[in-house]
Amino acid sequence: MKTNDIILQTVTKITLFVIILFSIYLFFTGHYHPGGGFIGGLMASGAIVLLLLAYDIEMVKAILPVDYRKMIGIGLLFSAGTGAGALLAGKPFLTHAYTYANLPILGKTSLHTAVLFDTGVFLVVIGVTMTIIQTIGESD
């Protein structure tokens, strides 16, 4: 019997965006408060899993045509590249640089290369989680 998922699907349409926004918040707050790339990425993939629960796998693939295996590679490149960038400046591997900048609208903002490293973590976590879940989901 096919059940009608209209309530789940309608609620997903709104909550999905709130969860993704919360994962972005967790990602950016990681330097000064609890949060960071790992939990942010896990929360973002949690939102996509909610999408998978409400709709089927083909539908989610049509909404987000992302190759999650490539996402893992790009994430690793981000993290390794941030570490290798320090070598170019003549510092030991994984030395991070930071500065404070006065941006036009945002005002005084701290810029830190650890954010780029965290972006790599974020992408790898989403990629790994979604690869695991999709691989298990697709096998009969």
Partner: protein, 158 residues
């Protein structure tokens, strides 16, 4: 379209509550992230991503400004010419636009650009009667309006 904008505002306010900072800058940052998320999930909605529509409106505005400038120059040339050798005429302009506001905008754009003037619209809203100050080739004039204004308006309403 309206739902997406409303959702974007909603997300911006949630961002402000998460940050516990109620400044316009936080709102802007939240709006930006909300825009990013909505763009990522743009295939999720039945309608197009609303950013495309805003770009289309801006493009229509720029096309109108360009046409206004160019046709004002053309009228200035005609006025300053010592010989009066213009050929005025009225022609029918078939339009594919359906909605009332689309036809109104098209008619106003044609009227505001000097050299042409909408006189009347047929009862079934399918033909605009346009008076042109100096007309060499009717088909050329029709194509000119169709390609610039009508296309840009369709881009907005699609």
């Amino acid at each position: 379209m309206a739902f997406q904008i409303l959702l974007n505002f909603f997300l911006a306010f949630i961002w402000m509550f998460l940050k516990t900072s109620y400044t316009p800058v936080t709102f802007l940052v939240g709006y930006f992230f909300g825009l990013l998320v909505i763009f990522t999930f743009r295939r999720f909605f039945h309608t197009r991503f609303y950013g495309y529509k805003i770009v289309a409106v801006i493009r229509l505005f720029l096309i109108f400004n360009r046409e206004l400038f160019l046709s004002n120059l053309a009228v200035l040339k005609v006025i300053l010419k010592p010989k009066l050798d213009i050929k005025p005429g009225i022609f029918a302009l078939p339009t594919e636009l359906k909605e009332d506001w689309e036809i109104t905008i098209l008619a106003n754009l044609i009227t505001l650009t000097p050299g042409t003037l909408v006189i009347d619209i047929s009862p079934d809203n399918s033909i605009l009667y346009v008076h042109a100050m100096d007309i060499d080739d009717i088909q050329e004039a029709i194509d000119g309006i169709k390609n610039s204004f009508e296309k840009a308006i369709m881009e907005v309403s699609r």
